[in-house]
């Protein structure tokens, strides 16, 4: 790599051991990607390491060593959802709380260290930092150092910002060093499509299913996907924001997609057209039967009556404000229709803390939901399900990401989930969905 005189001096130890190792990490990370050089990070970061759990977060001693060395990010960063330690889940037992406290003995020190290194505030603990309420939204073309797969793929594909799929801890190091390698997704050439995926199916198409399928096929390639522009009305359809979030999240789950282009929809596809497709791009055709087949494989493989779910979890990734309102309204209607005032199954909705604050302040359904036994929180459902102290025996959800990374999690469609919440089973006729409770916010349209 082409290093500056200052960078060479730091690597020689001119500023001490911690700055040397931080920069060495970035240089070796860059060399792995054949980077030309390091370039400045231009906007606030987003980190995937919000909690002290080993293997999920950084080592607390490591963070504190950076603090002791006087390291701090120049721009305040956001990070993925916090642990469940401060949540008030109604069915969390005292025993579970005590075991949790023992399982996260470093949590207070960890958060203090992360704050000293530049964590913005508790409102910024979400996997959807670009939402209007959170306001960590990079601009088109801006170079940032983000992690969290679903956030990275959204920032690159829908916003047109430029970030690597940074792994946890590298995300922090990039932001405290203030530099990231110029390679791959940060370059014009590295953003060209390596796959041409032609979708031959009439809409509506489930974004989660198609994204997961594309990810499985292209791995860490960059897909150019045609055949969706009419369905999404060039990104102007009200459902396009949700589709793009679902598609990207699941393309990164199924494979390692950090950037996709949807012909006639996403920002760079519109701006540059098919010039973005590499000459050696591989081709893939996906028809309706294939989508249906994959979709069926993701859905629960047995009836709800047999599953007997003891929790409904919604919000992986975190819900938008409109989704939260839509679900609340749907729950209220369904409770009234069923002549009930309590949910039959413990139901948890999660969204960014700033989104929840807005919901609490502006939407009358918040109180109704609480009275009915619903819980609105801001923790990470994936972490919740992976925690042996917390994981319920059986969960139903509408998130393929949560299903993929967890055990005993089953996918249902929204109408079936609504019936399960209210009646405990999936039978009977829930009010027809208007799409409202899976709706989109204006800010996340393409």
């Amino acid at each position: 790599m082409d290093l500056t005189r200052d960078e060479r001096a730091i690597l020689d130890g001119s500023r001490g051991e911690i700055p040397r190792k931080l920069l060495l990490t970035m240089v070796r990370f860059g060399e792995a990607m054949d980077a030309e050089r390091l370039v400045p990070v231009e906007g606030p970061g987003h980190l995937v390491i919000p909690e002290s759990k080993p293997g999920v977060g950084a080592r607390t001693e490591f963070l504190e060593s950076l603090v002791d060395a006087g390291v701090r990010a120049a721009l305040p960063f956001t990070a993925d959802p916090a642990t469940i330690l401060n949540e008030t889940l109604s069915d969390l037992t005292d025993d579970q709380r005590q075991r949790l406290a023992r399982a996260y003995p470093m949590e207070v020190r960890y958060r203090e260290a992360l704050t000293k290194l530049g964590l913005r505030d508790a409102g910024g603990l979400t996997c959807t930092p670009w939402f209007e309420e959170v306001a960590n939204r990079p601009s088109y073309g801006q170079i940032v150092a983000w992690a969290e797969s679903s956030a990275v793929v959204y920032a690159n594909s829908v916003i047109g910002a430029r970030t690597h799929r940074n792994p946890g801890i590298i995300d922090l190091i990039s932001n405290v060093v203030g530099k990231t390698p110029l390679a791959g997704l940060l370059t014009d050439e590295g953003r060209r499509a390596s796959w041409l995926v032609e979708v031959e199916a009439a809409g509506p198409i489930n974004g989660q299913v198609l994204g997961y399928l594309v990810g499985r096929e292209v791995g860490d390639g960059i897909p150019w996907v045609s055949g969706l522009a009419d369905m999404l009305k060039g990104g102007e359809h009200p459902a396009s924001g949700k589709f793009l979030r679902d598609f990207g999240t699941n393309a990164s789950v199924g494979g390692g997609v950090g950037l996709f282009h949807l012909e006639g929809v996403t920002v760079e596809a519109k701006r540059y057209g098919r010039r973005l497709i590499r000459d050696d791009a591989r081709r893939l055709t996906i028809n309706a039967e294939r989508i249906e087949s994959v979709g069926a494989s993701l859905r629960a493989d047995r009836p709800v009556e047999e599953l007997r779910p003891n929790k409904v979890l919604l919000g992986c990734p975190h819900l938008t404000y409109d989704q939260l309102c839509g679900w609340t309204d749907a729950v209220e209607s369904e409770l009234a229709r069923a002549g009930r005032d309590r949910l039959a199954v413990e139901t948890v909705f999660v969204a960014a803390p700033d989104v929840v604050s807005r919901f609490r302040a502006e939407h009358p359904g918040f109180a109704t939901l609480a009275l009915a036994g619903g819980h609105v929180g801001s923790f990470c459902l994936e972490a919740f399900m992976q925690d042996p102290i917390l994981a319920p025996a059986c969960v139903v959800t509408n998130s393929n990401k949560l299903r993929y990374y967890s055990r005993n999690v089953y996918m249902l469609d929204d109408e079936a989930l609504l019936r399960v919440m209210v009646t405990g089973n999936a039978e009977g006729g829930a009010a027809p969905s208007t799409g409202a409770f899976s709706g989109t916010s204006p800010e996340d349209r393409a």
């Binding site: 190792k21 060495l24 990490t25 070796r28 990370f29 792995a32 990607m33 995937v48 390491i49 759990k53 080993p54 293997g55 999920v56 977060g57 950084a58 080592r59 490591f62 992690a147 969290e148 797969s149 990275v152 690597h164 799929r165 940074n166 792994p167 946890g168 801890i169 590298i170 995300d171 791959g184 990810g215 791995g219 860490d220 990164s252 789950v253 199924g254 494979g255 390692g256 992976q386 042996p388 993929y404 990374y405 055990r407």
Partner: protein, 145 residues
């Protein structure tokens, strides 16, 4: 003795049996329920990986077409190295992805625990090596068996 030449991203000399995945290897899904340690050997816990699910991975050399999954891969690789439960090495036919590279570099730089990684070994890698084959990896990125 058949051999392939790749790029030694994390250089080292190792000899160990292969664990071959024909689908993308997901480190987080493979290891996330073993972060508490207290075990001698980590096994692949990713039910989506039919070939490696339940297979011991500690001290083995993992071969995969590529790695997939979450950006949590960084702390994941570092944690497995810290616990002494990581695979001895990782071999890839194409370019290593940033998530894997970052995690392995963290373990090497900050824990001084290298997980040997050779990428760019070519597509024949996965055609010619089977699970259980004894592999040797040299510091120069030569893989032989």
């Amino acid at each position: 003795m058949p051999c392939l030449q790749g790029r030694a991203l994390i250089a080292g000399e190792i000899a160990a049996p292969a664990a071959v995945s024909r689908v993308g290897f997901n480190p987080f899904a493979s290891f996330c329920d073993q972060f508490d340690g207290g075990i001698d050997t980590a096994v692949c816990g990713d039910p989506q990986n039919a070939e490696l699910f339940g297979e011991p991975l500690t001290g083995r050399i993992v071969l995969a077409p590529f790695c997939v999954g979450s950006t949590s891969a960084g702390p994941c690789w570092e944690r497995m190295a810290e616990l002494g439960l990581a695979p001895a090495g990782l071999l890839l036919p194409g370019d290593v992805d940033p998530l894997t590279a970052g995690g392995l570099i963290l373990a090497d730089v900050w824990l001084d625990t290298p997980i040997v990684c050779v990428d760019r070994l070519g597509p024949e890698l996965l055609d010619r090596v089977e699970t259980g084959d004894e592999l040797r990896v040299g510091r120069d990125g030569v893989v032989s068996w």
